[in-house]
């Protein structure tokens, strides 16, 4: 897809795609809220939320070749994963510690892994996925340069997208990853979801510059800042980064500014470090009602259809929870499985 410089990429999105994006954001919100409720009911041990970040995540997913391009996500990426094709029920299974695709109940929820979607398993140690994403992008370039794949082959991964929060960019391995991306001109997109908080710490406690993306030039990669609550703006910025990667023009450090509307996790009390007024201010900028209003304004959705979406999202959340509820728990001995893979010499 060639970029027509006179038309923004988001303007080329079909009505059905726009609806699909809205639906995914909405479903992520409802599932996330349900997880909070289940935690309050004592039914799940842990929740870590992506509320307030859905718009940016859905935009990012829709801009890549979903299910084919490599993705190394982070724990707040519920909406991103839904957009990539994670089954709703699988999310609920993971909350209950049942046989989810990601880890078979071994990992805490939100440690996504879907091999059939080229979503690579991650840990809870922040930023570890970023230099691994450099390795994924290195592999993409390696296969192209050694003639193993055609760079235009859309059935093959052509980039690696990785996500992280702004706090994670303080880790040394973030520097190493960005340096690799620059030195080797890798088809990588480092998508920083700057939600203004690393648990309680604010961006100025992480860095002495205004934006994470200000550091891009130091690594010899492209950098951009975008309003993370504006799904179409993020989509435009992400498409630019995707084109850059697909064309062999290197990596992008894309920073979406947004706000974490919930506490860090189910074990956090955010009243100790931020005001209710601040949260209300950002709720008014929430990307989901904003996109809903936009779609109504441009005639893609009617009020009645939007109401129908709300009902469907709740119904799908109920359905997924019931299905996961009915699924069996893993056998205790499954703790011993999958230690070593069997190889050609075994």
């Amino acid at each position: 897809m060639a970029v027509n410089s006179t038309v923004r990429p988001a303007a080329r999105l079909s009505e059905s795609t726009l609806r699909d994006m809205y639906w995914t954001m909405l479903l992520a919100r409802r599932l996330d809220e349900r997880a909070w409720a289940l935690h309050r009911q004592g039914r799940i041990a842990f929740h870590i939320s992506g509320i307030g970040q859905e718009a940016a995540q859905v935009a990012a997913a829709f801009a890549i070749n979903r299910g084919v391009d490599f993705v190394a996500p982070y724990y707040r990426d519920l909406a991103l994963l839904l957009a990539l094709g994670m089954p709703t029920t699988d999310f609920m299974l993971s909350l209950f510690g049942k046989h989810d695709i990601s880890s078979g109940g071994r990992q805490m929820p939100f440690h996504w892994s879907f091999k059939h979607l080229n979503v690579v398993s991650g840990s809870a140690v922040v930023t570890t996925q970023v230099p691994q994403a450099a390795g994924l992008a290195f592999a993409v370039k390696y296969r192209q340069q050694t003639g193993m794949v055609d760079p235009q082959d859309t059935t093959q991964p052509r980039l690696a997208l990785t996500c992280l929060g702004e706090g994670s960019t303080s880790q040394g391995e973030w520097h190493e990853a960005m340096n690799w991306a620059g030195v080797h001109k890798l088809p990588m997109i480092c998508f920083v979801q700057n939600n203004m908080y690393a648990i309680s710490e604010k961006p100025h406690q992480q860095m002495a510059v205004a934006n994470v993306a200000d550091r891009a030039s130091a690594y010899g990669v492209a950098g951009a800042v975008v309003d993370g609550n504006d799904v179409l703006a993020v989509y435009d910025a992400m498409v630019e980064a995707v084109e850059r990667a697909y064309n062999g023009d290197g990596a992008t450090l894309l920073e979406a500014k947004m706000y974490r509307l919930t506490p860090h996790s189910s074990d956090d009390d955010d009243r100790t470090y931020r005001s209710r007024e601040e949260i209300e201010l950002w709720k008014a900028r929430d990307g989901i009602p904003r996109f809903r209003q936009h779609l109504i304004d441009v005639g893609v959705l009617t009020e009645a259809e939007a109401g129908d979406y709300d009902a469907r999202a709740r119904a799908e959340t109920d359905r997924a929870q019931q299905e996961a509820d009915a699924a069996p728990m893993p056998a205790p001995e499954e703790a011993l499985g999958d230690l070593y893979a069997k190889g050609e010499l075994d």
């Binding site: 880890s103 390795g135 592999a139 070593y340």
Partner: protein, 327 residues
């Protein structure tokens, strides 16, 4: 059969695997035109080019992390850490990431990578070019660790490591890179990861060692043989997973166990070998399980007399065998 050095065996293994599988590449500091600081990749850059002999930024963490990503993407990276002493920045990526990937993804994602690590002292390398690191990493389920002490095993184990679908650390006794020579057959062969090797059969005392210490233990065994002590030397070769049967079978025969490693003693690899014997070989024992190791100090000192004091050697091993044989 031609006689070659340990490092030539490693170089041959990489050469053959690079030729066999286009997914195999080498990544590390100075592995390209320089051919590696120890010359392990000498000539390979000229043969396979810059795509496959990748000079990395000077940063161990990302050498391993990029390797993990590439392995997940079904390439076959051989990551070179220049000295074992420099591996700690990559500790998290090895322990938390590469070694846990298969388990944590419910068996979906494999990490078929090799981490080559020159290790060990006695080369004037001081605190930061001499370390043994096996104790830290042999506590990591999901990782495999091999330590060759002969050119045959070096070549065969490295080739097996490249073909293994799991992360495999190859600890290379760098003091033996050129000191250890041995015959290898022409043509294709591999050495399986897992089984230990009986380096010398004997009846009186079992000596368990690996790497440079296995090489020294075999020399010590020949020395004491002239005094009528028949020592058996077991070269463990694979530290993770450990070949417990080989240990127990040997102790069953000799009744006495001496464990030798140059790493520090406390919580060292020998403690696990001793625990295996204590747990399942107790009734075979005719004497205490003994360890001959480096002392519990922060590293191998640079100055020659202190270095030699630190390092086990054939004479010290022979003395330890004599003591145990007399018990």
């Amino acid at each position: 059969m031609p006689e070659i050095t340990l490092i030539e065996a490693l170089r041959q293994a990489m050469d053959e695997e690079l030729a066999r599988d286009p997914r195999v590449f080498v990544v590390g500091e100075d592995v390209g035109p320089r051919g590696g600081v120890f010359r392990a990749t000498q000539g390979l850059y000229e043969k396979y080019g810059a795509n496959r002999l990748v000079d990395s930024p000077l940063a161990e963490l990302s050498i391993v992390a990029v390797g993990i990503g590439a392995a997940v993407a079904d390439l076959r990276p051989i990551c070179e850490i220049q000295f074992a002493d420099f591996i700690y920045p990559a500790f998290n990526q090895i322990v938390n990431e590469g070694s846990r990937m298969y388990y944590r993804s419910n068996g979906a994602w494999c990490v078929p990578m090799v981490i080559r690590v020159p290790y060990g002292g006695g080369i004037g390398g001081g605190l930061y070019h001499s370390q043994s690191i096996e104790a830290y990493f042999s506590h990591v389920p999901g990782l495999k660790i091999v330590v060759p002490s002969t050119p045959y095993d070096a070549k065969g184990l490295l080739k097996s490591a490249v073909r293994d679908p799991n992360p495999v650390m190859v600890l290379e006794p760098k003091k033996g890179y050129r000191a250890i020579k041995g015959e290898i057959p022409d043509g294709e062969f591999t050495v399986p990861i897992g089984p230990a090797r009986i380096a010398r059969e004997g009846r009186d005392v079992s000596v368990f060692a690996y790497g440079m210490m296995a090489y020294y233990a075999a020399q010590a065994a020949e020395t004491v043989a002239q005094e009528g002590i028949d020592a058996e030397v077991i070269d463990l070769r694979t530290l993770l997973p450990l070949d417990q049967d080989a240990i127990l079978n040997s102790v069953k025969k000799t009744g006495k166990a001496l464990i030798v490693h140059e790493d520090m003693q406390t919580m060292g690899y020998g403690a696990e070998v001793a625990a295996v014997i204590a747990t399942d070989g107790f009734e075979y024992l005719d004497g205490p399980v003994r360890r001959l190791t480096g002392p519990d100090v922060p590293g191998v000192p640079y100055s020659h007399p202190m270095q030699e004091f630190f390092m086990p050697n054939p004479e010290k091993i022979a003395d330890a065998i004599r003591d145990l044989a007399e018990y």
